[in-house]
Symmetry: C2
Subunit: 295 residues, 2 copies
């Protein structure tokens, strides 16, 4: 398989579905405009693609889980909008364009984030979207996603990150923050796809082990790109973690050992995916692609 | 029935359930503390009580819908925390105590609100909480709640409110903002209780008509209290709507006609509740209580 064209095709399908689930509607004014501004600002759609690939990995179809994939992207986008706020990371640029609050003001950016998170749940509970899927599995997938997004996941990671700024860097703290802030939702992406597609418990467990490794590797790669990457190609300022005194994995162990750990994690993840069978080939390829980006 | 003791008893049951669903846990640090700070700041628990009473109104038990009642209070609390932010209403005092961001900082208050909204969904999809209820009805109730909270409800109302400040006051705009900002979630409270308790479609439709009237009346009463009420008794500053140039119902039509409209709405709501049968007596009494508060 050609990973690049797989990713590009999946991204286009996700974009088209997001357009269907959150269409432009002049009646709803600035709020909807602000939501769509960030939702369609050119993301890689990694979480949705992991969800679709998770469904395929357990031998299912990706089409029926597209609604969950789109909900994951709405949740990811809301977290970016809120993280960029002056009260948080105070970023002016994201994916090469001005951040939401820079364009719409802080108040509207808070609301746009709130609405994206809420609409994700509206979508996860939409009978027209989940169609013929088992409602118990729909509830389980929604719960998996929301647990990963909240107090035991992403928001907790962001809060720990906020509190850890300018503290003495420690590996355990960095891993704790990363596993919550990024890892939890990435893991939930692949797991929710597997649950909805009817994966057996041991398949879902495999997806969870895959997700944890890919989640941590993704954050390590992101930190490496911030440290060594090219601002123009990334569409955002680099070197910002150091400027802010943020704890990062390469900052604590050094870029060399961080890269080694990242590669070990994605190799393990790829092996776990390969053991799931031929449907998991995209997941296996995707895992290694995460570290290839940093070369 | 004695409404005061009904409300007090229900409030205590809701508080005990909230304590079970979001227990203090020293392991989770500031984020959980900030969430609990606002969740247990002494609210009237009107939305949870409407949910419990909605279940009783269709002839059901209130116990099995308690998880939904608690989710509604988490959503309501999140909206207060975000509304109070400097980027929004910039309030220092709420229910007689300092607002969340005043105590924990703007960034943590954004996150505490985000986490309360997310945990509401974690709760709505918890099999240990929804127990033996029909999963299709659980999904329908969750969707009812989330639609009312998001782009077609509360967040949209808050966005419209933000944009309408210092605009020429118009009755249609005030009603539009109120129906979304307050009415939608109040309506969803009573409707979700009815859905989960197995209400027939015509009973649920009755609850919806009840909720719309009670929702608008509640906002009129709130505006009247801001205009004429006693700051000390209310635990928050009064006269703030005028100071901020906020559009209010009494501000547009005058306090006398506003009070008349409020009473007409709660009388209609009480009549709708009475038609639902003896189980809806608390709803009927509650409707009139909303306007009695303003006397």
């Amino acid at each position: 398989m050609d990973l690049k064209s797989y990713l590009e095709q999946a991204r286009q399908r996700v974009d088209a579905a997001l357009e269907r689930y959150l269409p432009a509607d002049t009646g709803s004014g600035t709020l909807l405009e602000a939501m769509r501004y960030s939702l369609f600002a050119g993301g890689k759609r990694l979480r949705p693609i992991l969800c679709l690939a998770g469904a395929e990995a357990v031998g299912g179809e990706s089409g029926p889980v597209m609604f969950c994939a789109c909900a994951l992207e709405m949740i990811h986008t809301y977290s970016l909008v809120h993280d960029d706020l002056p009260a948080m990371d105070d970023d002016d640029l994201r994916r090469g364009v001005p951040t939401n609050h820079t364009v719409y003001g802080d108040g509207m950016a808070v609301l746009a984030g709130d609405a994206l998170l809420t609409e994700a749940m509206v979508l996860l509970t939409d009978p027209a979207a989940y169609g013929g899927l088992d409602p118990v599995k729909v509830l389980a997938a929604a719960r998996t996603v929301m647990r990963a997004a909240g107090l035991q996941g992403m928001v907790m990671g962001q809060a720990a990150d906020l509190e850890a700024e300018n503290q003495e860097p420690e590996l355990a703290t960095v891993q704790f923050i990363h596993s919550l802030k990024t890892g939890a939702l990435l893991t939930a992406s692949v797991v929710s796809g597997g649950i909805l597609a009817g994966g057996e418990p041991e398949q879902v467990a495999g997806l969870r082990r895959y997700g944890r490794r890919v989640g941590l590797a993704f954050q390590i790669a992101d930190d490496l790109l911030d440290l060594e990457g090219d601002a123009q190609r990334l569409g955002k300022a680099t070197g910002m973690d150091a400027t802010r005194g943020k704890m990062t994995y390469p900052g604590v162990v050094g870029p060399g050992p961080a890269r080694e750990t990242g590669w070990r994690l994605v190799d393990e993840a790829a092996a776990i995916a390969e053991a799931l069978g031929p449907g998991a080939e995209p997941l296996a390829r995707l895992a290694r692609y995460i570290m290839e980006r940093t070369n």
